[in-house]
């Protein structure tokens, strides 16, 4: 269980449902570790600034997170967290390892325009 104020996805089915219900979805899949926490913090702050984007997290060690771990966009990833960006249910971008606010907002601005 991840200790963040963001919505935590528990199952692969729930992730699919969120993808269907939200045109723009960002999911950070990680642990409560040094490289992941800064990304969660940034997402918490961005929730207000990007109301048209749904922000969520998923525990990397949750077996259901295989849906993210096995996403072809994550091939070759060897650094936590895996951060996924979905548009209309499709993966449009995935990043590995820690990202700063500028890196995240530039992806949000590119793929999830208001």
């Amino acid at each position: 269980m991840l200790r963040t104020s963001l919505h935590e996805i528990e199952t692969a089915e729930e992730l699919k449902k969120l993808q269907e219900e939200n045109e723009n979805l960002m999911v950070c899949c990680g642990r409560m570790g040094p490289m992941c926490i800064p990304v969660y913090d940034i997402m918490e702050e961005l929730e207000e600034e990007y109301p048209h984007v749904k922000f969520a997290v998923m525990a990397f060690d949750n077996p259901e997170a295989a849906i993210i771990r096995n996403d072809p966009a994550c091939r070759g990833f060897m650094g936590l967290p895996f951060t996924m960006y979905y548009k209309n249910g499709k993966t449009v971008k995935a990043t590995t390892s820690i990202q700063n606010r500028q890196q995240i907002t530039s992806i949000l601005n590119e793929y999830f325009q208001k």
């Binding site: 409560m32 040094p34 060897m78 590995t96 390892s97």
Partner: protein, 319 residues
């Protein structure tokens, strides 16, 4: 923003948060401005076992507690900001943020911290998260049954190399010198760990691979001889650099870019102090950062008090 704070702290790591705790507890109106997540490099530390009074904790737990303490004492926290201008020589100091907001304060404490040093060689950015890592605790299990390299010769490098032996079949430490800088006990432990090998006086000059890291090109420094070294992962722990690039010409810096302060954490500019990993000092520990943050806060409080007293005396003279 027309509000004038007593204390503006730039940086939200242990030094900045400690200064925030002390200043706000002393009833000084305090704001902490931070460019990233609060907690600084402590957040990047997995286990903290040498912080007095706390037997063992996660770095992020300690950082979260410091942040909560500062907030509970009334400190205002503004995160993820970028500062574009500093005006430090007037009685009321001003910093301008990239969104146009202006923060005013009677005194400023710089606690901008540091960040992990990179090798600065070809492929380093390309393979970050695809074989290159800066955190053995976070990414170690991706390398289960694989062979990895650790770069560095200090405590972090050797300790992380030891922890990586839980996952990797072989850990090779590359170090540019012929000796290590780590504490003797840590060196002994690394040397006595069977899975660890050492390649001394060598450096990585290129990262190689396609989808993920596959090898590194290394150079033996004394001879200049180069070779390709196959590896599945590289963990880099080669120290830190101070976050002071935008303070050149604004604060006194030494040739390593560290802020020069005296024992009161005074920078030489009235009302401006500095603390933590961005200052010129020998030891970089959470405890030293906390101590410097405390000293900077108390020194600045004294400065503000003397200013208020001077103002009162002048007012009395006029009356």
């Amino acid at each position: 923003m027309n509000e004038v704070f007593d204390v503006a702290i730039i940086g939200g790591g242990p030094a900045g948060l400690s200064a925030g705790i002390y200043s706000s507890r002393a009833k000084l109106k305090t704001v902490i401005l931070n460019s990233g997540s609060f907690g600084g490099q402590v957040v990047l530390t997995d286990e903290v076992a040498n912080y007095p009074g706390v037997e063992q904790t996660k770095g992020y737990n300690l950082a979260a507690l410091m942040k909560k303490q500062a907030k509970d004492f009334g400190c205002k926290l503004i995160g993820n900001i970028e500062i574009t201008e500093y005006h430090l020589h007037d009685e009321i100091k001003r910093v301008v943020l990239s969104d146009g907001r202006e923060i005013k304060a009677r005194g400023v404490i710089f606690a901008t911290g540091g960040r992990p040093r990179l090798l600065g060689v070809e492929g380093e950015n390309e393979f970050r998260g695809r074989g290159i890592s800066f955190c053995a605790t976070c990414d170690g299990d991706f390398f289960t049954g694989k062979e990895v390299v650790v770069v560095g010769g200090g405590n972090s490098a050797l300790e992380e190399a030891i922890s990586l032996t839980k996952f990797a079949t072989k850990v090779t430490i590359f170090h540019q010198f012929d000796h290590f800088q780590a504490f003797p006990a840590v060196i002994d432990e690394a040397k006595n760990t069977p899975k660890i090998n050492f390649i001394m006086e060598s450096r990585i000059i290129k990262f190689l691979g396609s989808e993920k890291l596959e090898a590194v090109e290394i150079e033996h420094i004394p001879t200049g001889k180069r070779q390709i070294f196959k590896t599945d992962g590289v963990f880099i722990f080669i120290g830190y650099i101070p976050n002071t690039e935008d303070l050149k010409g604004i604060l006194p810096l030494n040739d390593r870019g560290e802020i020069i302060v005296d024992s009161d954490m005074f920078t030489g500019i009235p009302g401006v102090y500095a603390a933590g990993d961005s200052i010129a000092k020998k030891y970089r520990q959470i405890t030293t950062a906390v101590a410097e943050g405390t000293i900077a806060s108390l020194s600045l409080a004294e400065y503000i008090k003397s200013k208020v007293k001077k103002l009162e005396n002048e007012t009395n003279l006029v009356a």
